[in-house]
Structures are given as C-alpha cells and as structure tokens.
Symmetry: C2
DNA sequence: TTATCAAATGAGAACCGATGTCAAGACATG
DNA sequence: CATGTCTTGACATCGGTTCTCATTTGATAA
C-alpha cells in the first residue's frame, strides 16, 4: 500500500483536484497527530506551520482526506466532528467515559460478525457502522 | 410500572420542579407519537394543541422527559436530535439507509452480551450505548 | 383563600460548529 | 507563458439548540 501522501495525491488526481500547498500541509499536520481531533484543534496545529491558512480550508481539506479514505470522521454526540487516521489501521469502536471524556479504542470481531449477520437478515447492505459504549472508565470509578 | 404520566410527575416532584400545563401537554403529545421525532416535529404537533407554547419550552421539556427515563435521545449523525419513547419498550438499535433515510429498529441479544463483556474487559461500567449500522435498505438496493 | 417567592415561560438574541459566497490568487494543461 | 478552472481567505450565513430576562405561573405557607 502506498504512503498516505501518495494515496491523497492519487485521490486528488483522480478527481481532477489540485495538489495545493495548503492541502499538503493540512495532510502532513493531520498525519502528525494521534487520536481523535476536531477541525478546530487541527486548525491550531496548521496555523503554527502556516498562519495564513484559514479555518475554512482546514474544514474543506479534512473532508477530502476523509473521502480519500485516509481519515475517518467520528461523532461522539457532543456536536463536534473529530477525525482519526485510518491509514493502515484496523477498524475499531470506542468506549467513552461520560465523566472525564476519555476515549478508548476497542475491537471485537464477533460483534462485527453479528452486525453483518443482523444487517443481512434485514437485507441491508452495510457501508459503515458506529458503535459507542458510554460509561464510567476505571479511573473515574475509583474516585 | 406506573403510567408514563405518573412517572414524569414523580420525576418532577423528586427534583422539586413544577408540574406545569405546558409540561403535561408536551408529554401527552410526545406519548401520542410513534418512532423518532425531532424537537421541531414535536413542536409542530404541540402547537396544534396549544399554539402559545414556545419552541424553547418543547426543547426544555423533552430533555426532562428524557432525563426521567421516558424518552431516549437518538443521534443519527445528521445534526438533529430525535427522541423516541422508552416506556415499557425493549432496548434496540438502528439500521439507517443512507439513500432514503429509512430507519429500522433491530435487536440482537448476543451483540448486547458481547458489548457488556467488552466493557467488562476494560473495566468500564456501561451506562448506555449507541449502535447504528449505515447502509442501503432492501428497497433502495432494488433500484 | 390569598400572599409570597422561587421556578417556568415566551420572545428573541446569542451561540457555535460548519458551510456558503465571492473576489483574488494559485495550479495544471497546452 | 497564457489560459481557464480550481482553490483560497475573509467573512457572512446557516440551523439546531441554548441562553437571557422580564413576565407569569405553580407550590407552599399563612
């Protein structure tokens, strides 16, 4: 599999979109982060690298990065869309602590299988899914 | 189990909140609906019964109804919060068609069990969860 | 009942993440 | 290079939801 940079360039070329300096910078900054980040956070990081890049461009570009398959958008239900890197990573779901907001990534193949079966039973063709378990994390339970 | 009306009144009393005419009407209207409804839709129905009730009151009241355990808030990721009746109903998850927006309710005990186990493994105390499968429904697949 | 006061309401402003608009500037192709 | 389209930055706008605050209402005590 090619590097995320090349994957993005290929996506842009395929859709006849320009490989601008701003898009390169936003992608680099995004790849340099870990975990789940909002556009606002991403914009803060991008600004450090090039303060002339506008928030709108960050919003526009991260969407492209998601469409190209490099990022995945996440919705934890607090009204903020976050993005995480998908490149060379397994699919996973999330546990979210409703006290401290900590988010843990989890994976359970048997759940994925059952989801597929469930959809099949209803003749649904699943494109993606979202599973979030909200609760209290170990640290907060001790308090 | 008491009626939802009484359950709501008990909830209000316990929290030293007034049982106003507006709250009674919003609850009645909500109980008279089926499926998943946004505050805007609910407000439209409420208005027919009493046009002097404001949107803000509907927003405020449906939140109380959810906190009292009678309603559950749903987030399908389109920026609109919807509510469905929880009173005397089993928990269920949703299949959402990304073409026609049709939403199907589904239930799979084994997934619920696995979710519980998964949380347990991470010492998480789960309060609620959200599982939505996005895809194409049977009708849209035929087209 | 009536008086009292905290709580709830209606109206409309404010909020905020996100998107739209548009003139100016940058990129790819010939 | 020159051309024409795409992209950008700046800023306005959007839409669901929440906030503010003066007015009204409900719950409690007298």
């Amino acid at each position: 599999m090619s590097s995320p940079q090349n994957q993005f360039l290929e996506y842009l070329a395929k859709n006849k979109m320009a490989a601008t300096e701003q898009r390169r910078i936003v992608l680099e900054v995004f790849l340099g982060t870990q975990g789940h980040h909002s556009c606002e956070e991403l914009y803060a990081h991008v600004s450090k690298r090039d303060s002339s890049i506008s928030p709108a461009t960050v919003y526009r570009t991260i969407k492209l990065i998601a469409e190209s398959g490099i990022a995945e958008s996440l919705d934890f239900g607090d009204g903020i869309t976050r993005f995480e890197c998908r490149h060379d990573r397994e699919h996973h779901d999330h546990l979210v602590c409703i006290r401290c907001n900590r988010r843990i990534e989890v994976m359970e193949d048997r759940i994925e299988e059952l989801q597929e079966k469930l959809a099949c039973k209803h003749e649904f063709e699943v494109h993606r899914h979202k599973m979030i378990l909200y609760g209290i994390c170990p640290d907060c339970r001790k308090q």
